[in-house]
Symmetry: C2
Subunit: 267 residues, 2 copies
């Protein structure tokens, strides 16, 4: 998906919501457990119920890997089920030496037809370049994450700046705002303004709203740009809104609430 298409989808819908499919067999409604293809049945129902309110889906690969090879089949089915109008993110946090990152890029951009993958920056340029080589695909690099552990290294000073600032400054030069985004957690909204000074035009993928406690209004105040420029992910607060047979419509209700709030924030 191109940047122009992504912006058009967001602006026409008035939503910058991404639904995170952290699908956990220990948490899905009991009545689905007897299904042959329970994880996909869960995803399908959530997608059907939330499609009108979000502009993308984020698949957290850990949850699928915990199901073994079945999980990879579910990822494939899910990516194929999501319509082309919606942005598909593999939240995989990959990154390795060049020949290995090339294989990860193949796995997520070719074998699975994701639009984007999240990548960890620690190993530097040759670990990220292979992802950037794909046309109309996106590399979403960890900047400042939403968890407490971000203090340990990301928020350490290197030279006169935080490590995450150095990462964003450095990595943003390897690609462009048409193929690179950064993860910036909603739990530190004041830092979003600092990040916007470094990369005014890049999209940010913002986790940490919902279960992790980040405020949509706060992060939007600091993070929105003229293109909207934000993809805000909500996982657990939407997909586990209900645990009974009506779980999907409950998920739809919450997704609609985020959508309505987003419309108020951008119009």
């Amino acid at each position: 998906m191109t940047k122009t298409q992504l912006i058009e989808n967001i602006k026409s819908k008035g939503s910058y919501l991404c639904v995170g499919l952290d699908t956990d067999l220990e948490k899905i409604p009991v009545h689905l457990l007897s299904s042959h293809n329970k994880a996909f049945m869960f995803n399908k129902a959530i997608i059907d119920a939330t499609l009108d309110h979000c502009i993308g889906y984020k698949i957290n690969t850990a949850f699928y890997e915990a199901m073994g090879s079945y999980g990879w089949d579910v990822m494939k089915q899910t990516v194929e089920y999501i319509p082309e109008t919606h942005f598909k993110i593999a939240d995989a946090k990959r990154g390795d030496i060049g020949n290995t990152s090339s294989k990860y890029a193949k796995a997520f951009f070719e074998i699975l037809d994701f639009d984007a993958i999240t990548v960890a920056p620690y190993m530097g340029e040759d670990s990220i370049r292979p992802f950037l080589e794909y046309e109309n695909k996106w590399t979403i690099v960890l900047g400042l994450t939403s968890n407490k552990g971000a203090d340990d290294f990301e928020m350490q000073k290197t030279g006169g700046e935080y490590l995450f600032e150095k990462v964003i400054k450095t990595v943003s030069k390897w690609g462009s705002d048409k193929n690179t985004m950064f993860v910036a957690g909603a739990t530190r909204p004041d830092q979003l303004s600092e990040i916007r000074k470094i990369i005014p035009n890049h999209f940010l993928l913002v986790p940490g709203v919902g279960f992790q406690g980040g405020s949509l209004a706060e992060l939007s105040k600091h993070g929105l740009n003229n293109d909207i420029g934000l993809i805000v992910n909500v996982s657990r607060a939407i997909i586990y809104a209900g645990s009974e047979e009506n779980f999907a419509s409950e998920a739809g209700v919450i997704a609609r609430q985020y959508h309505e709030e987003m419309k108020r924030l951008i119009y």
Copy 2:
């Protein structure tokens, strides 16, 4: 596997060689391509031919993910095929917020019965803790990697030290030398002495020998400790030593050469 067992295996054999199964369907011998289960047939032959010369195998998950769900079946079959005497590393470079890292730990320590997994440190403590909670399992954290990109962030100064030194100092306190190792590349052997000053007792997983050009004698001079304390990985130089029907015995020849050199270095 406990640290005592690992040391015993290494000392009794006189080898600290790990064979990296970077199994690539574009590189395995042509005569295997007609096999129904070609990737596993390749791994099985390599394992049979190298078992006497190494103390472990490292499975690089990227190469298996590039095969889709079949790759996950091959990983499972391969881990089950490797005898209990040998240390089994998932080279996965994972790491995410706590609830997600827990799922990765489940995937690699429970669904697949690996002894160890490589983990990226960027996201800090809560991204690493879930791996450390497993008894007799190992978390191998990226310290200083073997690639050129290590200059971009790992070799940047934070306070008075390099980022990789800060990572090693900090992370080594979260676990102990009985459940934590660090990746330290063979391509910067002088830095191994510095790392040994910080963690004299931890095992180091050392990539970068063979195709990447690191010297076994050099890295051993700087990295060995009283327990040996090194696991040196060689992937391409062993598994693709031959490309004909005798590829496995060619792999065995190269593995034997490393084994012989290691015996000379430690006895």
